[in-house]
């Protein structure tokens, strides 16, 4: 049997998912834009270093920024044309960061480095990993952690399972859903390539059961693969959190402070798997992705395949324009996404969605005292006491917070979501974490 049932995890919440806005909308591929702004930092780790100067001609798929160190990846031109600026531009991270601006020549020509490898099935694990890094592939679920790093566990960590994350538990987002439904073969083939780099065959694909069509598509596609199983997961946020997913799919608990590899697991997002397939088979670097553009602030929510570096203004246009007065723009989902200070930001490798909330859906909360109702304790998927962490942070008692397992928090937002006193618990926890990390850095 290829389909098994997930085991679940403790805690979690059930926010309304709003996926009906876009989950029936097939992915629309947008034409190459006239201009892109490619940030040099679209991943966790050291930003890439620009290889370009103003006036240089570039082709689609050409490397324009070099990885700096192991935990880093290069960036590539997503259109062909001419470099018009190497400067700081607004970035979804919330400030202006170095980027390369390219003006299109209208030809959309591939670089000659990009060629299909007919014998890609015979590549060695080391070759595949190096292709994955030089293709600039990062975790596309949102965190954007360089994929090759996750595929290079130290020799003493025995990996036995690859988990492909198709949970997509964030409300509103449907990009992974549509990818699994429309192109399951790319996902499965990509997953089996990733498994080969780890010299394993055991692949578990976790999908929440609110996407029965995607579960069916992926299960059908997986039929011809040995060792691939689809795990249907009960809808519960944050099912797609790495540690929660591993627990729900395999029953294993990543030890506190540890990594998935400590329980023999590597987790990759479905879109990442598809990107690996494109890179290893066709030699295409990561220069496009599916973005869900949604929320009641746009006229026609939908899923769009766009080049990295495309302005969000293009996505707004594709989604039928804005309606109502926009109060909040969120890159990602409403539980963990980041608010934006401008409507014009470039699409990055990790941008799974753009959520437009009109003014009347933006609530301003006055935070009250904790009434000790304990709801945050019930929903915390990490078994923490968010109430106490919030109070410690408020009083600047960072060491006490650290002792209360502050650093285990995955910032999923479940605690803030349920708090009747509207306490900004995740915000307070981040504030305390920043201090603890600064002190640890100093001590190191």
């Amino acid at each position: 049997m290829h389909l098994i049932k997930g085991k679940g995890f403790r805690g979690g919440v059930h926010p309304p998912d709003w996926k009906e806005l876009s989950n029936a909308k097939a992915v629309v591929t947008l034409p190459a834009p006239e201009q892109v702004i490619i940030p040099l930092s679209q991943h966790i780790g050291a930003p890439a270093e620009s290889l370009m100067k103003v006036g240089d001609a570039v082709k689609k798929g050409q490397k324009i920024g070099e990885a700096k160190g192991f935990v880093s990846v290069p960036v590539h031109a997503s259109i062909s044309g001419k470099v018009t600026a190497v400067a700081s531009f607004p970035h979804p991270a919330g400030k202006s960061l170095p980027a390369i601006q390219i003006e299109s020549d209208g030809l959309d020509e591939w670089s000659e480095d990009v060629k299909e490898n007919p014998s890609y099935k015979n590549l060695s694990p080391e070759d595949i990993k190096s292709i994955i890094q030089s293709a600039g592939i990062v975790g596309m679920g949102g965190a954007a952690f360089p994929t090759h790093v996750k595929l290079s566990p130290p020799a003493n960590k025995k990996i036995d399972t690859l988990i492909i994350n198709g949970a997509e538990c964030e409300p509103y987002l449907t990009a992974d859903h549509r990818l699994m439904l429309e192109e399951p073969d790319r996902v499965i083939e990509g997953a089996s390539i990733i498994a080969r780099t780890l010299s394993i065959t055991n692949i578990l694909i976790g999908v929440e059961d609110n996407k029965p069509d995607a579960i069916k598509a992926v299960s059908d596609a997986a039929r011809s693969y040995e060792g691939v199983k689809v795990v249907s997961l009960k809808v519960m946020y944050p099912q797609g959190g790495e540690k929660q997913l591993i627990k729900a799919v395999s029953g294993k608990e990543v030890p506190s402070g540890g990594l998935p590899m400590d329980v023999g697991v590597v987790v990759q997002n479905v879109a990442t798997a598809a990107a690996v397939y494109d890179a290893v088979r066709f030699g295409r670097p990561l220069i496009e992705r599916i973005v869900t553009v949604t929320g009641s602030g746009v006229n026609n929510p939908g899923n769009f395949r766009v080049r990295t570096g495309t302005s969000s203004l293009k996505l707004i246009e594709a989604a039928g324009g804005l309606k109502n007065e926009i109060g909040k723009v969120i890159s990602g989902g409403p539980m963990m996404g980041m608010t934006q200070y401008t409507l014009d930001i470039p699409v990055t490798k990790g941008m799974s969605g753009l959520l437009f909330l009109p003014q009347d859906e933006v609530e301003n909360y006055a935070s009250e005292a904790c009434i000790r109702c304990g709801r945050c304790v019930v929903v915390c998927p990490m078994g923490l006491l968010p109430n106490m962490l919030g109070i410690y942070a408020e009083l600047d008692r960072f060491e006490q917070a650290e002792k209360a397992n502050l650093m285990d928090c995955i910032e999923c937002g479940s605690c803030s979501y349920v708090c009747p006193s509207k306490r900004p618990l995740v915000h307070l926890i981040r504030y305390a974490k920043a201090d603890v990390m600064a002190r640890r850095k100093k001590a190191a």
Binding site: K328, M335, T339, I371, E411
Partner: protein
């Protein structure tokens, strides 16, 4: 494009589940209404007046305290209404107006604001007030008018003993052959409806259970405290009943008398003064149930619910310190 428009920047999450402090407080008040309504039905106008005086004075005192202490005025959040209503439900319907107001003063000023206001108090404010009044004005606090409504089948509205105090008096009499089973006690049906003497809001078990189930249904409370509280009281009183039914009343009688149901669903479950973890709540409930029966059977007072809850309130910080949830990933060596 629309650069002139300002976008809101904030830390995630960007959605909330819609719960609020007023929402919680008003739901609990709603859940208390059947019990309060039965109190008014059974004890008439004095019960209604006591409720009105308690709520009005609690709200006024809360506003005044917030004003003189320079705190944000949050009197509209419903917590003072709830404290006032709970206090009234713990008083005899015959309580004089000044006694009720003193109760509100103790609850709101001493029980709540001297600790720092909402969320900061150690003890349940309404119970602090009740116990203060009981110790200071024992006569007024233990004269319970008999229910005057039709249910009581023509009993005059004179002071009457509660079912529990009748037993305590029998036990404390120096008779040679004590047998509490011979005492005239209300029928189980009357206990359920509330047709017997007692505090105005504690007598009608059926009305309180409806409210308690409503709180469970609305997920304002969880089952942990009521079940462990009532379960422990049931078990402990059952054991003693087996030992000597002539001295110790049967467990069902214990559950249906005094303030046990009111306490288990509405007082012991007070968020601020009970533990935050489920395991902690179970310990808390067991403690409440055990202490209640211990005081009823072996203490000087006929009723022990208030004392039991207050003692367990005292233990709450310790329970919360010792009983923490098991952290994800704490179990090493799995897989």
């Amino acid at each position: 494009m629309s650069d002139e428009k300002l976008l809101t920047l904030s830390s995630s999450p960007h959605i909330r589940d819609g719960s609020s402090i007023p929402g919680v407080m008003h739901t609990v008040v709603m859940a208390l209404l059947p019990g309060a309504a039965m109190g008014i039905y059974l004890f008439g106008l004095p019960a209604l007046l006591t409720i009105i005086i308690a709520i009005a004075s609690s709200v006024a005192l809360e506003a005044w305290m917030q004003w003189i202490m320079g705190r944000r005025i949050t009197v509209y959040d419903g917590s003072a209404i709830l404290t006032g209503l709970l206090l009234a439900m713990n008083l005899p319907s015959s309580a004089p107006w000044w006694l009720t107001i003193i109760g509100s003063m103790v609850a709101i000023i001493v029980g709540k604001h001297l600790y720092g206001g909402l969320g900061q108090n150690i003890f349940n404010p309404a119970l602090v007030a009740r116990v203060f009044l009981l110790i200071s004005w024992p006569v007024q606090m233990t004269s319970f008018p008999a229910p005057s409504a039709l249910l009581a089948k023509g009993v005059d509205a004179v002071a009457t003993a509660t079912p529990l105090s009748a037993i305590k008096m029998e036990l404390m009499s120096h008779k040679t052959n004590i047998d509490i089973t011979q005492l005239p006690q209300p029928s189980t049906f009357d206990l359920l409806l509330g047709a017997h003497g007692g505090s105005l809001g504690e007598v009608s078990i059926i009305a309180l259970l409806i409210g308690g189930l409503y709180l469970l249904y609305k997920r304002i409370i969880t089952w942990h405290i009521p079940v462990s509280f009532i379960g422990t009281a049931l078990a402990f009183s059952a054991i003693m009943w087996f030992v000597d039914p002539a001295k110790y009343a049967n467990p069902v009688f214990h559950i249906m008398t005094g303030g046990l149901i009111l306490g288990a669903f509405f007082m012991a479950t007070d968020y601020v003064t009970s533990p935050v973890t489920s395991k902690g709540m179970l310990i808390f409930g067991v403690g409440c149930g055990f202490l209640t029966i211990l005081i009823r059977l072996f203490g000087g007072y006929p009723e022990g619910v208030s004392f039991a809850i207050l003692l367990m309130n005292l233990a709450t910080p310790l329970i919360d310190k010792l009983v923490t949830p098991s952290k994800f990933g704490e179990v090493k060596g799995n897989g």
